[in-house]
Structure formats: C-alpha cells, structure tokens
C-alpha cells in the first residue's frame, strides 16, 4: 500500500509540469486503461529520482546512526566477550573469552542486590511518579487563578541538571546538618541516617527520583486530559456523577493510551537512571542502592583499575532487562485492552 501511495503522491506535481499535456491530450482519444502505458518509464524514473533525493536528505542521519549508535553498541558487545585489560589499551590485544565475563558477573555477590534494586527502584519510582503526576494533572485541570503559572513552575525541577538536583537532595538528607532530619526532630520523630544506612539509602534515592519525575508525568497527563472532549463530562454531570465517579469511570479509562505512553517512557527513563544514585550514595552503603547502571559504571569507571569487560557485560544485561520489562509491559497492556 505504501509503495503505490508514495508513487501516486510523488507523481502529482510532475504531471502538472511536463507530463500533463501529453496525457491530457491523449486521454479523450484512448480508452482509460491504456493511459498509464506511455508515461510508465518516465514515471518510474521520476519515482527513483524522488527516492534518491529523499535518501540524500536522510543519508547523514543514517551514517550517524551507524557510527554513533550501532558501532558503539557493537564495540560494547565485543568488549563483553573479551578479556580487556589496561594492557589491551597499549598493544590492542584482548583474548576472546566467550561468556566468561557474564558468568563472572552473574556469580558476583552484587548480582542479586543489583537486580532487586533495579526492579524496586523502577517500579516504586513509576508508581509514585505516575499517581502523584496524575493527581496533580487533574488538580491543575480545574480552572482557578494562577493555575497555568503554578503548573509551569512545576517544570523547573525537571529542567535542572540531574547532578544539581542530586547534590541538593544529598545535602537536605545529610544526617547531621540536613533540613529533613531537623524537621523530623522538630516534630518529635527519631532522626534517620538517610544516605549511610542500608535500609534508608534506597528510600533516599527513590525520594529524589520521584521528585524529579513528577513534572514530566504531570505535563504529559495534563495534555492527555486536554484531549478528552468536554461533552463527555457534561453528559456525566447530567447523569449526576460525582467527582470520584467521573474520574474513575471517565477520566481514567479515556486517559489510558496516554497513561500507557507515560509509563513506558518512565520505565525506559528509570532503568537508565545514573546521575542521581551515583551522586547521592554511589550505590552504597555496600550494594544497598546499586542498580545495574550504577554497577556497570562502578566496574568500568568508578575505581582505580577499570574492569571494562565485566562492566560491558553488566551493561548488556541491563539492555536485556529493559527488553524483558518492555515485553511484560506490552503483554499486560494487551491483556488490559482485551478485558
């Protein structure tokens, strides 16, 4: 379908130029089916030219994708199958070791905590970002003075460099001088070693990440709300639906496609999170807040001697994990749609 569609569309402007007079002159005389015949070689040459022109515009991006996406990914995969050491940088040799790096990584004591942390960090982040973002989107959708301005202000945290946000949170959660512990003390609660105790380190990075993700969810869900036709709400209010019924029976189901995109993007983004955790806890204490992204960075660039090959193996496991998450998500989505 696309090919014929393309051809007919591309041919139209040309016809108005040189081809048109001959066809137009010919058509009253000849029967209609014969019409395409004489123009055919010309048309296909034109079509080819149009295709070549289009791809000339696209070629730089294709080259770019090959050099700056495909090639690094290939190098990374190759790296994960070799034993790459500091010496490899000098003499360029690195023996091929097949799945040794993967075996080493999977047997490592960091594997289980990293897997659990990645899953917990992703799921908890998304649940809170999405539900808070949705509640705020519904709230700001009401008409009241300053609504637009306040909603715009909500975007500021999202536009800040992650490193900045992470530093601010690290200082706010500081055990001795942080404002959060001062607040807990003021209302009579016990203080918490946010960043340095294994139980709370994960909570700390989650707090910061949820805070960063709220604006994004708010904006997308708000634009989804704008696309729901007003008549639906009018009908609901005529039927006497209360606020909760309106939300649960109308807003939420109609928002489902936008919600799906929001959650999928949240998933992709959260699996990648690096800056926040690295600045706040470096994945510690121990492995308490280490995710796959953190573990990979730590192996490759975090310490004195870079272990690039295991780091690449962890990175590739992260891609597999993203793929599995994506599949689970798509399946659940399909089941929801069928139900």
């Amino acid at each position: 379908m696309t090919a014929t569609h393309t051809a007919s569309r591309v041919a139209v402007p040309g016809e108005t130029g040189e081809v048109a007079p001959s066809t137009r002159a010919a058509s009253p005389v000849r029967p209609l089916p014969a019409r395409p015949d004489p123009t055919r070689p010309l048309r296909s040459r034109q079509r080819l030219r149009a295709q070549l022109t289009a791809w000339a515009f696209i070629a730089p991006v294709v080259v770019y994708l090959v050099v700056f996406y495909a090639y690094p990914l290939y190098r990374n995969l190759d790296l994960s199958f070799r034993d790459y050491t500091l010496r490899s940088f000098i003499d360029g040799t690195a023996p091929f070791v097949w799945f040794d790096n993967y075996a080493q990584v999977i047997q490592s004591s960091t594997f289980t905590p990293a897997l659990v942390n990645t899953a917990v960090f992703t799921l908890v982040s998304i649940v809170f970002q999405f539900s808070i973002g949705l509640a705020l989107a519904v709230f700001f959708f009401k008409r009241f003075p300053l609504a637009a301005t306040l909603r715009a202000l909500f975007l500021v945290p999202w536009l800040l460099p992650l490193l900045v946000s992470a530093s601010v949170w690290a200082w706010m959660l500081n055990s001795e001088s942080g404002i959060v512990n001062a607040g807990l003390e003021a209302i009579g609660l016990t203080q918490v070693n946010w960043l340095t105790s294994p139980q709370w380190a994960m909570v700390s990075v989650l707090l910061a990440n949820i805070w960063i993700g709220i604006p994004f969810n708010l904006v997308i869900l708000y634009s989804g709300l704008q696309n729901i036709p007003g008549e639906v709400y009018e009908a609901a209010s005529l039927d006497g639906a209360n606020a909760w019924q309106t939300f649960w029976r109308i807003t939420f189901p109609l928002l489902r496609p936008v919600s799906a995109i929001t959650i999928l993007l949240g998933l992709v983004y959260t699996l990648k999170v690096f800056d926040i955790i690295w600045i706040m806890t470096r994945g510690g204490p121990g492995d308490a807040s280490a995710t796959f992204a953190i573990w990979s960075y730590r192996l490759g660039f975090g310490g004195g001697s870079p272990e690039l090959s295991p780091a690449a193996a962890v990175g590739n496991l992260l891609i597999v994990l993203a793929f599995v998450f994506g599949l689970i998500y798509i399946r659940t989505q399909r089941r929801l749609e069928r139900a």
Binding site: N76, V164, S177, I279, A311, G315
Partner: protein, 272 residues
C-alpha cells in the same frame, strides 16, 4: 465553580508548588549561608546574615567550566540541527521508502542506557584520539538529542500544507531550495524547541563528561560541581552556589521559552 472554591484551589496550588520547589529554595538558602552556620542544628530557614562568598568563589574557580559547557551546548545544538532537520524534512515530505523503519530505529536509539553508550564511546574515542576533548564530548552529547530532534521536526513538518510544497515546485524550487527557503523558516518554533532541549541535555550531561572527559583541560560545569563535592565536603555553600549558577540556563529558558518547553515534552512523548 464558586469563587471561594476557586480561591481555595489557588491556595492549595500554591502549597503544592511550594512543596515541590522547596529543594530549589533550599539550594539558594544554603548557597547564601555563612560557612560557620552550615553545621547549625536546626539549620537557619532563611539566609540570616547572608554571604556571597560562595558566589565569588564560583566566579573565581568555575568560570572556565561554565565556558566549556556553553561551547559544548552550542556545538551539540549545531550538530543536532544540521543532522536532524534535513532528515525530518525528507521523512515528513518526500515519502522515502523505509521511512517507517528509520522512525522505529530512532525510537529504539533513545532507549539505550547512557552507560552502555559511554563504554562504547570510550573505546572508540580512545582509538580516534578524541578522548578528553571538547569535540568528542559534543559528538557524544549529540546522541542524546539527534533522535529526539528528528522525531520533533518530522511531527512538525508533516503539518506543513501540501499546497505550499507544490507551489514551490511549480515556481521551480528543487527539494533543497524548498527545504532551505520555505520549510526551515516556517519550522522556526520547532527549531527553538529542539535547540532548547538539546542545549539543556548537553549542559546537564554528567555520564559522558565523567567518562569521556575525565582528564581533559576543558571540562564542563557538571564536572566542576562533581569535583567540588569530592574535594570540599565542608564548603556546601560554595557547592550550592555553583549549583545555582549551573541551573541558570534552565531557569532562563523556562521563563523565556515556556510554551516551547511544554510543546517539546508533549510532542516528544505523545505521538501516534
């Protein structure tokens, strides 16, 4: 809605916004706090007896980092626009065969974790000899924005009326001329949107900076802050002052180009 309820909502909205923005307030507050008051328990809620020492230290020590970030940001914007605008024009208006597949590849490309890209780049840049250089960082940072740029430009350019394109053709304009003199001027809004996001991402990048430019002479501001945190864990007012200064582009862009921000977020995400 009654007017008291509207006012009630405004008050509630202000409270929500204040809670959300509290960390930013705290960043500014700490940046103005006297070093001797930093360890005070409980901390001062307002900058009592404020000091600008943190800021004067930023200007003394961090200016080269800020300059590098500016160059990297602008360079990344240039690379991104040059690559993505022509491609998007072709995808939106010239109907190439395989265009859908390319779109799909671009979507996937956005999903690759930064650490994996960083590792691949590390080896490649080592071979090419552009590790620890500004051009290397510009090339790496552009991977954050090129797929996004193509997708935004395509969405926008697809909306340009077909009659305009045919009119240009009748007047004898070839595809390149049409792109240059008609499509690009009309697409000014999307150029602003793409440039804005590209600049912010390049300015904020930490993972590429900390892997591909860890030893270079010219390092971006994120590395400036990172080193500050490492070396001066006592001087949080100077660290926060740097953080405030590093946030200025985001704040300025939000005020100046507010509508482009919302357009960029939603157009980048909600596409059918």
């Amino acid at each position: 809605m009654t007017s008291t309820r509207r006012i009630g909502n405004t008050v509630l909205g202000v409270i929500f916004t204040a809670l959300m923005l509290f960390p930013l307030y705290w960043m500014i507050n700490v940046s103005l706090t006297q070093p001797t008051d930093l360890r005070k328990d409980p901390p001062n809620l307002f900058p009592v007896n404020p000091t600008f020492d943190g800021y004067s230290r930023v200007l003394g020590e961090q200016l080269p980092y800020l300059g590098t970030s500016l160059v990297v940001g602008l360079g990344t914007v240039a690379v991104t626009l040059l690559l993505s605008a022509p491609a998007a024009f072709a995808l939106a208006k010239l109907r190439p065969r395989g265009g859908t597949a390319l779109n799909f590849v671009l979507l996937i490309a956005q999903m690759i974790p930064g650490i994996i890209m960083a590792m691949g780049f590390y080896l490649i840049f080592h071979n090419w000899g552009i590790l620890d250089t500004v051009p290397g960082l510009i090339l790496a940072d552009s991977t954050l924005a090129v797929p996004f740029g193509v997708l935004i430009f395509t969405a926008f350019m697809a909306g340009i009326p077909e009659e305009l394109m045919s009119a240009a053709k009748i007047d004898g304009a070839g595809p390149w001329r049409t792109f240059q003199s008609i499509v690009m001027p009309i697409s000014r809004n999307s150029v602003v949107t793409v440039s804005l996001f590209t600049f912010l991402w390049a300015w904020s990048d930490f993972i590429f900076a900390s892997t591909l430019n860890r030893g270079g002479d010219l390092q971006p501001i994120t590395m400036g802050i990172y080193k500050y945190i490492g070396n001066n864990t006592q001087d949080w007012n100077a660290i926060m002052a740097t953080a405030v200064v590093a946030s200025i582009p985001a704040a300025v862009l939000l005020v100046v180009a507010q509508r482009y921000v919302a357009a960029g977020v939603t157009a980048g995400a909600v596409k059918d």
